[in-house]
């Protein structure tokens, strides 16, 4: 019986990718700018910032981590990570006192999803920046 063994690649040195990923977290598209992918960085910046600002204008709620049953933990902790992934946008919004209670209504609900969605898109961009920095991608 043939067996397949996965050869584990060694992880790229931290100094190769950490600046791009870190900057990419703080400023959406920042990692791409650092790696001289300006066009792609610009598209990411515009998309993530626009999505976050629309979320704020729709008065979406920011998640706070909460634990309890499994569903509550996943939704609130996952939502908090999604919000936090927007980097400087999230930090500025909270520093300037943005605090919106979770109220009923489709506009607020979309706003909450836009705020989390912006962070999730930024996570995709950070993964892309990591792959470019470690030469897995051009």
């Amino acid at each position: 019986m043939a067996t397949t063994q996965k050869i584990k690649e060694p992880m790229a040195p931290l100094k190769d990718w950490a600046p791009a990923v870190g900057l990419g977290w703080l400023v959406p598209g920042g990692g791409h700018f650092l790696l001289k992918r300006n066009g792609r960085g610009g598209l990411i910046l515009v998309s993530v910032v626009a999505m976050f600002l629309l979320g704020l204008m729709m008065r979406g709620a920011m998640f706070q981590p909460q634990t309890g049953d499994i569903l509550t933990t996943i939704i609130y902790c996952g939502g908090f990570i999604g919000d936090l992934a927007s980097g400087l946008l999230y930090l500025l919004a909270t520093w300037f006192g943005y605090s919106q209670p979770d109220v009923a209504g489709h506009v607020h609900d979309y706003g909450t999803k836009f705020l989390v969605g912006a962070g999730l898109l930024n996570i995709l961009a950070m993964v892309d920046a990591y792959e470019i920095a470690t030469r897995k991608k051009t």
Binding site: V48, M51, L54, M57, M58, V107, L124
Partner: protein
């Protein structure tokens, strides 16, 4: 910060647009593939949006 009121459709289209742009940018290797994939994603989002909208319309009777 101005307040914004969007309909379900407008909000979902904007969500689809920004998500498709980023999905296109981060997934493929050439610019032509990125544009094609982004456009395809957007098309799928809109098709799902309209399809589910009609499904809910008929589901509610």
């Amino acid at each position: 910060m101005p307040r914004m009121n969007l309909s379900h459709f407008e909000a979902a289209v904007l969500f689809a647009l920004f998500t498709s742009v980023v999905m296109g940018v981060v997934t493929k290797k050439t610019d032509a593939d990125r544009i094609r994939y982004g456009a395809r994603c957007f098309g799928y989002f809109i098709a799902a949006l309209i399809g589910l909208g009609w499904l809910m319309h008929f589901g509610h009777g």
